[in-house]
Structures are given as C-alpha cells and as structure tokens.
Amino acid sequence: MAMRELTDLHQVWRMRAFEEKVRELRLAEEVVGSVHLGIGQEAIAVGAAGLIGSDDAVFATYRGHSWALACGVPPENLFGEVLGRTCGINGGRGGSAYLTAPRYRFFGENSIVGAGAPIAVGAALAGRYDHSNRVVLTVFGDGAMNQGAVHEAMNFAAAMLLPVVFLCENNSWSELTPISDMVGDDRLYRRAAAYGLPGERIDGNDPDVVRTHLASAFERARTGGGPTLLEAMTARLVGHYIGDAEQYRRPGELEEARRHEPVTKLTEQARRNGAADADIEQAELVAREEMESAAAEALRSEHADPATAKDHLYA
C-alpha cells in the first residue's frame, strides 16, 4: 500500500511546507536577513531521520531547517527562531542560519563553511568516554569539501576510528559557483580513500536509498568500524539564499532537476505502488496545515526581549 513512500512523502512535504512558509514570511519581511532554503534536498534528511538514535548527534550547516525537523525540533520553535521571537528554539539568538536544539540531538547549524565537521568529530570523541555508543552525523555541502577544517576532521576521525558519518549534500553549487569548476575531480566521495575510509556516492533524492546507505554507515560507526563519507547527489531547486537571482543556472538545469526531485520521485513511487490519490494529497495537506498553524503560533510570540540580549555570555 506504499506506506513507506507515503510516510516519506509526508516528511518531505513537512520540510518543504516549512521552508515555503519561511520564504513567504521572508518576502513579507516578517523574517529579516539571509535565509538559505534546502528545497529539493529534503530526501536526505528524511532518509536520515529514523536512524538517529537518542544518544546520537547531528551537526548541519546554515541550510539546516530540514535537519532540525528531522531531529524532531517542533516547527513552532523553529519558526519562532527564524522570526526572532521569544519562542524561538534559541530565543532568537541563532536565527535561521545558526540554530541549535541539543535537547533534540540537533547540535546545530553552522554558518562557517566546514567548521561543523571538526566539532562533530569532538561529539563522537565524547562518546568514547560516556558509554553512549553515540554516532554523530555531520552534514555539509559540496563546496565545504574544499575547506581545510573538513579535511582535518576526516583525517582526525579516521586516525582515531571515531563513529562519525560525514554526509556531503552535493547540490552541485557552492553558492553561485559550480563545484565541478572548483575541484580536479568532482567525484567527491573518492576523497574518502585518501583517509582510508569507505566512501560512496548515492542518490540523495530518494529517502530510501539514503536510508539504506546511511544505515550501513551508522552500523559501521556504531560497531567500531569508524567513519564513512557519503556523497548524496541532489539539487537545490531555489536560490542559494532567498533573493538570489540565480543568473548562474545552466539552461534547462532546473527543469531537469524538477524531474528528479523528492516530491516528484516519491509521488511517482507511491502511485506506482498503489497509493491512492487522496493519500498522496493528504501527505501534502496535513504537512501544510501543520506548518501554517506552527507559523501562526510563532507569530503570536513576542519579539525577543532586548533586555535579555546580554545574558548567557559567561557561566
């Protein structure tokens, strides 16, 4: 009855609806500042969601709304954060690009390209001593592969055989520049071998493919086999940030990408496996309703109180 596809589709829709709402709020200037959407890339986070155990930890980038949702952060607190409200998961201190929700195993976004990878390695290191059997998932873009910190993180984790899964979301663009122009070999997963690690390129638009490969990587990490590098191929269907004029796109690029994006893919799969049209529609509608009401709730929250702006600098 295509239950798996329908569930995945619903999860993808939750993320998409969240971000479409954020875009609406941004265009309405309820949200201010730079916002990076991951529309088109949701299948990766959806594929990962079920694998993240209670002691595990996730580290993402500024393009991390979907990852926060995948970790279970309530959408109203995410909206609140993006909106700079008191109910924001960080009370408005993080914003769209630097949110953190440790209670949900989401150790946060990072707005410095590549900087999250060594931090994630440290989270894995901590697991050596706290008997948690923690696996740490660290997510970054294709462009981040060229940052020194990511290299150091992979080598460090490899040398110490730490339970880290390095997950590269290859959307083929680093901001406005194609990754293929910025490397000598754009099969990024092949860098794993440099560190003596397993590496693989996978379809990042299919949650189930992601799930399967991530499951092996988690299993390897969990059982002492050390880190893995996965390169999940995907496409961002929107600009690098809201407002990006996307003049750099190749002709036909987006049309092509839309044919393979997760909603299209999962809808087809669900249909092929016998899902009813009504269920497919529900997957979207329920998600949109959830996000509309979460946004409405967040909008009812106060703007963060300026009088608290100096709190929490030191212990």
């Binding site: 406005l176 702006a309 100096k310």
Partner: protein, 331 residues
C-alpha cells in the same frame, strides 16, 4: 577634498568599489582579482559584476578555501603580482588568519625588503538585520594589532573608491574593510580619476566645538545622526571619521580633539580590546588635555544575536550615542 575639475559620477558604494577595481585592473597590469563567487557570478553582493568579462583570467573564482586564497595571494605577490583578494565576510578570515598574521605580515620584514607583498584583502563586516553571530562581527582590532598590515574602512562611496585605489597602489599589504549594508544604499557623487591619495587622511564630517567624536565604518552615519539630534539641544559635536586606522593619523586627530577638549570614540566593534582604546590612549600620549575622561562607545562586549530586537538591545544607535555624548558634555 574632491578635485572639482575631475569628472564625477553618481554611484552606489558598491559601484564605487567596482570602479576602483576596474581602474586598478586597467592601470596596473600586475593586478589580479579573485575570491569566492567574484568572477562569473559577479560577487554575492553583485559588486564585482562585469570584471571577469572585461579582464578575463585576471579575475577568477576560487574554491571555498580561505587559506588557499590568502596564501596564494602571498605567494603571487612575492613573485611580482599584485593580488586583490576578496574574503566574503571578515568572520571567514578567521579560518585562515595565519596567512595574514604569520605569513603576509612577515614577508617584507624578514626578507629585509628584498621581497614585498602588495596584497589587498577586500572584505566586509558588521551587523546587518538578521545576520547570525558568525556573520556580524566587527574585527578590525584584530588586524590592527598586526604590525606590517595596513587597515582602512571606507564609509562613503568616494572613500570606497579612493581607499581601494590607494590600497592597490601600495606596496604594503592592506586590508580594506567594507560594509555590506552600504553597497546598495543610494547613489553619491564620486570623483573617479583623481590621483592616488596618501593613506591616513581624516575626514571631518561635521564641524563642532563641544566634543570630538572619532569614528569609522558604517556607524559614522549614526554618529552624524546623533550629532544632528544634539545640535537641536545646542550641543555642538564635531564628527571626525578616520577611514584609515593603520596608519592612524594621531597628530591630526589630536589637533581636533584638543580644540574641543572632549573625546568620544565610537565603533561597532566590541569595546574591550577595541581600537577605541588605542585612540583614547594615543590622545593622552599626545598630551591632549581633556575636560572630562574620554568615552568609548561600541558593542558592550557581547556575541551578536540574530534577532533584530536583541541586536537593538546591544548595538549603539543614534539616540543612545546622543545620550552618551550629552552626558559627556555635561559631566
């Protein structure tokens, strides 16, 4: 003083930067310009559009590798080029600060002047609505503690042009710190073909007699607003912008401060360890007599939150600056 015999054009700050780059790339064949997204896409702020088209492979995009960007600039400069590199946000310079402090700054000194490193690092900084803690810092003080590296912060479109031209013509490394909130903030008349100016000139943005406010960067606008507010109350604030912080025009500033007998330094950077402290102490060392202790206004030693309402609780704005200046004058 703009030379009125020269042609001028109405340009935004961002366009002025582009015009300066265009001029330097034209008149100095040894210049290169590169950084992340600067060439084919024309920069994340659109500032460098058209340069790649017009200057070909002397303008190019790079991987997200700040150590490689800065390091390669050092090496290319050693071998006779005059690289202008962009670090998209000053915060990102921190991933490769070694290449500035331990490498770039040493080239001339250690080689006894046999080598030099005429590298220009163009970057931008500061707080803007909604930007996160990792994209909001004002870090000029870190660079100003590094002997061997010049530092300036243009505020007007004219200075965005002039300072960059001066920086590129200099045989010393220069860090030019722009401000992204200014790139598209309206057009100003900019004189374009003037002679290369010397470093370290001050800009008296407003005359005044009760207190001298020394400032730099985008916050200059707020200081001027504050001065305007106070003018209505009969308090006369002199606003001296010092777009060059290295070299810092100690004597010129001292002369102005001596005339009013009161000093406030206003910057967007954190107060503790900010360059404001340096300015205050230099005035004392220069023997400037003050009627009341100098005042420092800046971010009150905090990280920068994303929510605009929180930032408003921290960042000096015109009313708050005015309030501080009022107190100073009445103390």
């Amino acid at each position: 003083m703009p030379d009125t015999t020269l042609a001028s054009e109405k340009l935004t700050y961002g366009e002025a930067v582009r015009a300066a780059l265009r001029r330097c790339l034209t008149e100095l064949p040894e210049t290169l310009f590169y950084g992340e997204d600067v060439a084919k896409p024309g920069g994340v702020f659109g500032v460098t559009r058209g340069l790649h088209r017009d200057f070909g492979d002397r303008v190019f995009d790079t991987p997200i590798s700040e150590s490689a960007i800065l390091g390669s600039a050092v090496g290319a400069a050693m071998l006779g080029r005059r690289p202008i590199v962009e670090i998209m946000w000053i915060d990102f310079a921190m991933v490769a600060f070694d290449q500035i402090i331990n490498q770039l700054a040493n080239v001339r000194y250690v080689s006894q002047g046999l080598l030099h490193a005429p590298v220009v690092i163009r970057t931008q900084q500061g707080s803007a609505p909604g930007a996160c803690a990792q994209h909001s810092q004002s870090l000029e003080a870190l660079f100003l503690h590094v002997p061997g590296v010049r530092v300036c912060l243009p505020w007007t479109a004219q200075d965005a042009y002039d300072l960059l031209v001066t920086a590129v013509h200099s045989d010393d490394p220069v860090v030019v710190i722009e401000n992204r909130t200014l790139y598209n903030a309206g057009k100003q008349e900019v004189v374009l073909a003037g002679p290369v100016q010397r470093m370290g000139e001050i800009r008296v943005r407003r005359a005044g007699t009760d207190v001298t406010a020394v400032t730099w960067g985008a916050i200059t606008a707020k200081v001027l607003e504050a001065a305007e507010l106070l003018a209505g109350e009969g308090i006369s604030v002199e606003v001296v912008e010092t777009p060059w912080l290295n070299p810092f025009p100690t004597d010129e500033v001292a002369a102005r401060v001596s005339a009013t007998g009161r000093l406030a330094v206003v910057h967007e950077a954190n107060v503790t360890g900010g360059f404001g402290a340096e300015v205050v102490v230099r005035m004392a060392e220069a023997g400037v007599a003050l009627r009341s202790p100098a005042l420092r206004i800046g971010l009150p030693d905090s990280r920068v939150p994303a929510a605009p309402s929180l930032v408003a609780g921290l960042m000096p704005d015109a009313p708050r600056i005015a309030e501080s200046l009022r107190k100073l004058v009445h103390s």
